[in-house]
């Protein structure tokens, strides 16, 4: 089965997955929680570290692969999805996790998000959404709220924020969740289930920037978020999921749902790809001279 996560054999739940590199984030940054939650999720699944590839873009949150002792690619701004897709297509035995920010994934790279979702490629994409550009020191992001005052919108943003959860659902993602760095245990569970899900999973994480975003703070989120699991939400309904994705904006950001919005079972990309039915691409043999000559015969 090409699209099944290998359960792993050698890893123990206690495997730390920590490298000798420390995260680069400011004290209090939401991304520390994401590191902890991702670690916990990986420990919960028990995949060997050599079979994990964490692919990131550029931005504060894209430094995520370095503190992990897994394989990683710290790629270009906005391009982690195609890089991660290429890794997964070449070796379907690997667990591929994308980590990046809202500027990276919802701004410059948003086109790739839609196509990864509709392909239902079996990767997990964690977006640390802090509603600001942090590493470039505080400009508006695609999820900055209307009126948000940032370095690039000193008189208040006049652009409506993107609805990444709604976009992901509409584009065909088969696992769409939202977490909050103030609740890393809840986040770890969502990430773990995302990784175990066969198909494209996205976890949008409210990950506050404590340095450049003084609007969307931990307290601001704490006062507004509620868990879908406790609200009787049915994640198998696309309609209901889309309705929930609109709730934050419709309530003037007074009620913001987190948790699992949508989950459905569809064949993952690798289950449909003709070539991958013969196993991971990297394990397939090089052609023989005879096979090349046979192809040449088509042109006689």
């Amino acid at each position: 089965m090409a699209d099944v996560i290998n359960p792993g054999t050698g890893a123990t739940p206690k495997q730390s997955f920590a490298s000798s590199i420390k995260g680069i984030w400011c004290p209090g940054c939401g991304d520390w929680s994401v590191q902890a939650a991702l670690t916990k999720a990986l420990q919960g699944i028990g995949i060997e570290r050599e079979r994990i590839v964490i692919v990131s873009g550029i931005g504060c949150s894209s430094a995520m692969p370095h503190p992990f002792s897994t394989y990683g690619i710290h790629s270009l701004h906005g391009r982690l999805i195609p890089v991660a897709t290429g890794v997964k297509l070449a070796n379907d035995d690997l667990t591929v996790i994308g980590t990046g920010g809202d500027g990276d994934g919802y701004g410059i790279g948003v086109g790739h998000l839609i196509h990864a979702a509709r392909r239902n490629i079996n990767i997990t994409y964690i977006v640390m959404d802090n509603e600001i550009y942090g590493l470039t020191t505080g400009q508006a992001s695609p999820t900055s709220l209307l009126g948000a005052k940032t370095k690039s919108t000193p008189f208040g943003s006049i652009e409506n924020p993107e609805n990444p959860v709604g976009i992901a659902i509409a584009a065909g993602a088969t696992y769409v969740a939202r977490a909050f760095s103030g609740d890393p245990v809840h986040m770890a569970e969502l990430i773990k289930n995302g990784i175990l899900h066969k198909g494209f999973s996205i976890i949008d994480v409210f990950s506050p920037c404590v340095t450049f975003n003084n609007l969307n703070t931990y307290d601001w989120f704490r006062q507004r978020v509620y868990k879908l699991e406790q609200a009787g939400h049915d994640p198998s309904s696309m309609q209901k999921a889309l309705e929930r994705s609109l709730e934050a904006e419709q309530t003037g950001w007074s009620k913001i749902p987190i948790g699992l919005f949508y989950k459905t079972e569809k064949p993952a990309y690798s289950a449909l790809d003709m070539t991958l039915q013969k196993g991971p691409l990297v394990n397939q043999p090089m052609p023989t001279k005879q096979q090349v000559m046979d192809i040449l015969e088509e042109y006689k």
Binding site: I21, L76, R79, A90, D273, T275, P287, V292
Partner: protein, 577 residues
């Protein structure tokens, strides 16, 4: 050498392309040499399209000057092509559709055949009029009709006996039509040849090299590579049509990082989008192969016309400095060979290799006796699967040759993070916290030098980075890539006029071996021939060797050079030297 050029003309939708492909196949199967090229536009119906098929008794280097046999499927064919007709050209046309009054009857041979009526009577299908005309053309050239029938059986056998018989019947009607007689009688040598265009040869070269992954966004004239991979998906390759060229190159980098041989392809506009990714491959030291099939630029330019104007662009694309290889195949057979080798070079030096095709090279069809399939070797370079040294794996170990050992994800004990930021030997970034410290300055200096050292290593270890001296003479044509073939033809034409001209042609252009290239060029009377307006190769030569080439034949009108065109230009230059 004897040759004849047949040009089939009509509108898009008239079946001109499939008719041309059919004639090429018939000739190649019969021991004849063929060179086919088509003219078309960025439009699906209508327009004016032509397919020129030159058939000869020895190797052909271009689609030929002028038309010897014109199949005119509509009035435009006469109106637009009359200036290209050679003396005594045979004009095959349907008098109910096409008027030839505008042509001088003393200079041409008119062959009116009621193509449409015959087609409908023979098969009930009006499109068969092409086949009737092809039958007549084959008779004029002197190709046996049995040869045609054999190809038809091979091509349409699957579609059933009726389709085969209709084609055979229609062709026989034209072949035996009253007044149609053999005028050329070009004899083949009995060897069956492959009929291949450059993109097909390139694709087969990639396949032979074990390329498993090809990503592209559709763009003329590279799309047929994507289609080749798509139609051979059942042979163990993975074609991926991506949302844009940015995704194409980044997916290719991902697949290559995971250990698959991977390639992406596009034309200049798409290559522009790939530029940032090219630098990523340079920085991560990921072996990828990138095809740019050039068309007439800038911007959208002439999407269905050719040019060699992206050389300086691909040599310098992307910010910063990193090693890369640029190669432009000189023939269809060469497209196979350099592509197969491109994957070895990419793996050996862990850098991007750019294959510079152009529309002419991608699309023209040649009869090819053999491809160097036996010579293909697969060398994955420095790859490790186990951590034998203990300790943390240094993916970017600083070495004398600049090449470090590479590991694929899945190998235990070799985990590393590849970073687009500047990094140390482990791959750990030096950009975030420590940039500017004495230690980081030292790391940056060493890492940049390590990567660039690979260029020196290539020049030292590889034999391919010197131009070819194809012929010696009192004067030398200097050219590259696809213009090599018409240049070779020009030499023959000049020779027949008693002028001895040599040829120095480049396939591998970057890196250029300054010393060897300089030794080869200095003291010679050089004439630069390129299909661009500014002499880009000449600039590269000057940059690397200090040798300036004062005389040149350059053009950027969208059409490929013919041998005759180059020969005339050279004769003029020599006269005034």
């Amino acid at each position: 050498m004897a040759s004849v050029s047949i040009r089939i003309c009509g509108a898009n939708g008239d079946g001109v392309e499939s008719s041309g492909a059919l004639v090429i196949k018939v000739a190649a199967k019969n021991g004849l040499h063929v060179f086919g090229y088509r003219g078309y536009q960025s439009i699906i119906r209508g327009g004016h399209v032509w397919y020129q098929i030159r058939i000869g008794d020895s190797e052909l280097r271009s689609h030929g000057e002028g038309i010897d046999i014109l199949i005119a499927l509509n009035q435009d064919s006469i109106n637009y092509q009359k200036s290209h007709l050679n003396q005594n050209a045979i004009v095959i046309y349907d008098p109910s559709k096409v008027k030839v009054d505008s042509l001088d009857s003393s200079r041409f041979v008119f062959v009116p055949i009621p193509l449409l009526d015959i087609a409908i009577a023979a098969s009930g299908d009006p499109i068969m009029r092409n086949v009737v005309a092809i039958g007549a053309a084959l008779k004029f050239v002197g190709i046996d009709i049995d040869a045609f029938n054999e190809v038809i059986r091979g091509m349409f056998g699957r579609k059933g006996e009726a389709v085969v018989n209709n084609n055979i019947k229609a062709a026989a009607e034209g072949y035996n039509y009253n007044g149609v007689k053999t005028a050329y009688n070009i004899k083949g040598d009995g060897k069956q040849r492959y009929a291949l265009d450059g993109n097909t040869a390139l694709s087969i070269g990639a396949y032979a090299a074990g390329c498993k992954f090809y990503a592209a966004y559709p763009m003329t004239p590279a799309s047929t590579i994507l289609q080749w991979f798509a139609s051979h998906e059942n042979k163990g390759v993975m074609p991926k049509q991506t949302e844009d060229e940015i995704a194409a190159i980044n997916m290719t980098i991902g697949a290559a990082s995971a250990g698959a041989r991977a390639m992406c392809g596009t034309s200049g506009g798409g290559f522009s989008l790939m530029v940032e990714g090219l630098g990523l491959a340079g920085m991560l030291e990921t072996p990828i192969v990138v095809v740019n099939s050039q068309r007439t630029g800038p911007s959208t330019g002439l999407p269905t016309k050719t040019e060699q104007a992206d050389l300086l662009f691909v040599m310098h694309a992307s910010q910063g400095e990193f090693p890369r290889i640029v190669v432009a195949p000189r023939s269809v057979a060469d497209s196979f060979k350099v592509t197969a080798e491109a994957f070895n070079l990419a793996d050996r030096y862990q850098c991007p290799v750019i294959i510079l095709m152009d529309l002419y090279m991608s699309e023209h069809i040649e009869s090819v006796e053999r491809l160097d399939v036996d010579e293909v070797v697969i060398d994955r370079g420095k790859v490790v699967t186990e951590n034998t040294g203990g300790g943390r794996f240094k993916r970017y170990l600083i070495t004398d040759d600049g090449i470090s050992q590479r590991a694929y994800p899945g190998s235990a004990g070799l985990e590393y993070v590849a970073g687009s930021d500047e990094h140390d030997e482990f791959g750990d970034l030096i950009s975030d916290a420590f940039a500017g410290t004495d230690e980081s300055i030292e790391v940056r200096k060493k890492m940049n030098a390590k990567r660039m050292r690979k260029m020196d290593t290539m020049l030292k270890n590889e034999k391919v980075f010197v131009p070819h001296v194809d012929a010696d003479g009192g004067f030398y044509i200097v050219t590259w890539g696809s213009t090599t073939s018409p240049a070779l033809e020009a030499l023959e034409i000049l020779k027949s006029k008693g002028q001895s001209v040599g040829l120095i042609s480049f396939d591998y252009i970057l890196p250029m071996d300054s010393r060897k290239t300089s030794d080869m060029l200095k003291g010679k009377k050089l004439i630069d021939v390129e299909l661009n307006g500014t002499g880009q190769l000449a600039k590269v030569i000057r940059m690397n060797t200090g040798i300036g080439i004062e005389k040149s034949i350059l053009k950027s009108d969208g059409e490929a050079f013919t041998g005759e065109e180059i020969a005339n230009g050279i004769a003029e230059i020599i006269k005034s030297w």
